[in-house]
Amino acid sequence: MKQFVFKRTLSGIPTLFGMTLIGFLIIGLTPGDPIEMELRRLGVSFTAEQVEALRVEYGLDKPLIQRYFIWLLDLFRLDLGTSIASGRPVLELFKEHLPITATLSVLAFVSSLALSLVLGTVTAVSQRTSVSTSLYVLTMFLVSVPSFWLALFLLAVFALGLGWFNLLQFGNAQDLILPVITLTLGNAAVMSRLVRERIIAVMSEDYIRLAITKGLSRRAILGRHVFKSILPPLITNWAISFGSLLGGSVIIENIFNLPGLGQLALQAIAERDFAILQAYLLFMGLVFFLANFAADLTNHWLMPQLKEDDHGVR
């Protein structure tokens, strides 16, 4: 296991560097001058010399590659640069906006994971019953509906109609309920389809037939035999889902007016605030990387027979 962790960490280093390079270049090569954009936004008149002076101040006068290495070195010192629009350090802005996004994503992830397991198992095990068919149709509907539509629908019913929630303002934890439900429903529907497909596929395996023939209870067959087999592909899927949830919360945060990372990123796109965008891309890449890393480790731990395959039959 230690050897696996070491190998996997080593092989992750080039990926991380690649991520920083691509993330930096995508933003760096975007057309539009951030200094001019910001000055125009502020409505001040400016001269070419003033723009040039500001460029030098923000280091934008240097060639792109040189800027990349400066940015990379700063990164090691946990300096993510300074936001052009607000003049504040990016790290500070991240610290301010991350808690809401993290809370939203983690809550939505945990609840969609639990819901998807229940939905997937029920629809797979009791196929061709009315309950199973209705749940399957519901999941198909939730998969097809865009999250912004679901968000607006929930707002219309529960905030505007019933008045249970605040509309478009963030004050306390209660205001996270609707966004979490929106993210959970869509995500759980997608995840439950994989759970269902995997259970149906595994149920036709010879070893499940043996488990049935041995006279094991339904609980033992599902709990020990089926779930042990479906977990590895599900864990990989969950890792991707977590990253997508974090990315997907951009739209949801904007609809529900939550001051999270997504809102910060969208604002940064509008203002060509390169430093924030570069940091956001890096952060998203890092989340995907870590989630996949965690999934790989869990799968390695869950499938010990793979260890024997690594070194031949012992």
Partner: protein, 261 residues
């Protein structure tokens, strides 16, 4: 030996529900008494394995038993709810399937798979370990196999793990569905020996399915012949095959004779 049918299959028909209920096995009837060793033989695809799957409840959708009955000690298995069937499966009827490579759970150690089998006959802790150890010895498997995962075992060893399961469960009816398919001659011999040990130790009635008359002769006292989804002949293996037998039986006998030459 009292001749009471332990297992009675009557008019069993297996159909494919997605293809206009086309019958794959039709009107199969036979019975198995305590201690009997009955062979079921026929060409590949004639419906032998499907018949076994129907008895053990391992038919996969869209295949279903469209008519007939399968009675175990007088109780109709097809009319029972799942939980009740599970009480009969294992200790009442157990089946050794033809694909040892995929029959064992790949992510569970042999010990876990045998312990859970022992748990099904209410053997736990020290008792379970002792029974497992004796079962492994009876089928000539080394004790260190317990710590391994199925991928570390050969096909013959996996098949013997299945035999060990049968030894632990001591089923009233043991079905062996082509247990030697895909095994080399030496492993085939070892597997049959192990099966012999299992049958002697458990006293189970045996339904031995094969396409190989030579192996059936070694294992069974009588044989049923299937052809195109139907039972077409029944022969006593202590007697020479009658010259007026069904053409499917004659075909198998002729092929075996030619191979032996």
């Amino acid at each position: 030996m009292v001749d009471i049918p332990l297992l009675q299959v009557q008019n069993l028909t297996i159909a494919n529900s997605t293809q206009n209920n086309e019958s794959l096995v039709e009107g199969v009837s036979f019975s198995l008494s305590a201690g009997q060793r009955l062979g079921l033989i026929g060409k590949s695809g004639c419906g032998k394995s499907l018949t076994c799957h129907a008895i053990t409840g391992a038919l996969r959708a869209p295949l279903t038993t469209s008519s007939g009955s399968i009675r175990f000690q007088g109780q109709d298995l097809l009319a029972m709810p799942f939980a009740e069937k599970q009480r009969i499966r294992g200790t009442g009827i157990f089946c050794i399937f033809q694909s040892p490579g995929s029959a064992l759970h790949p992510s569970l150690t042999i010990a876990t798979q045998l312990l859970e089998t022992a748990g099904n006959v209410s053997l736990f802790g020290q008792d379970a370990q002792q029974t497992i150890s004796q079962a492994l010895e009876a089928v000539s498997l080394p004790q260190h196999c317990l710590k391994q995962y199925p991928n570390a075992l050969s096909g013959g060893m996996k098949q013997r793990v299945m035999m060990a399961m049968a030894l632990i469960l001591k089923p009233t009816v043991l079905i062996a569905d082509e247990p030697t398919t895909g095994l080399d001659v030496i492993t085939e011999h070892e597997t049959l020996e192990a099966l012999n040990v299992v049958q002697q130790e458990t006293g189970s009635a045996l339904l031995f399915v094969s396409h190989d008359l030579r192996i059936v002769r070694q294992t069974c006292t009588s044989v049923l012949v299937m052809d195109a989804g139907q039972l077409v002949d029944a022969c006593d293996l202590n007697q020479p095959i009658a010259p007026d037998c069904h053409h499917a039986t004659a075909e198998i006998t002729r092929a075996m004779e030619r191979l032996q030459l």
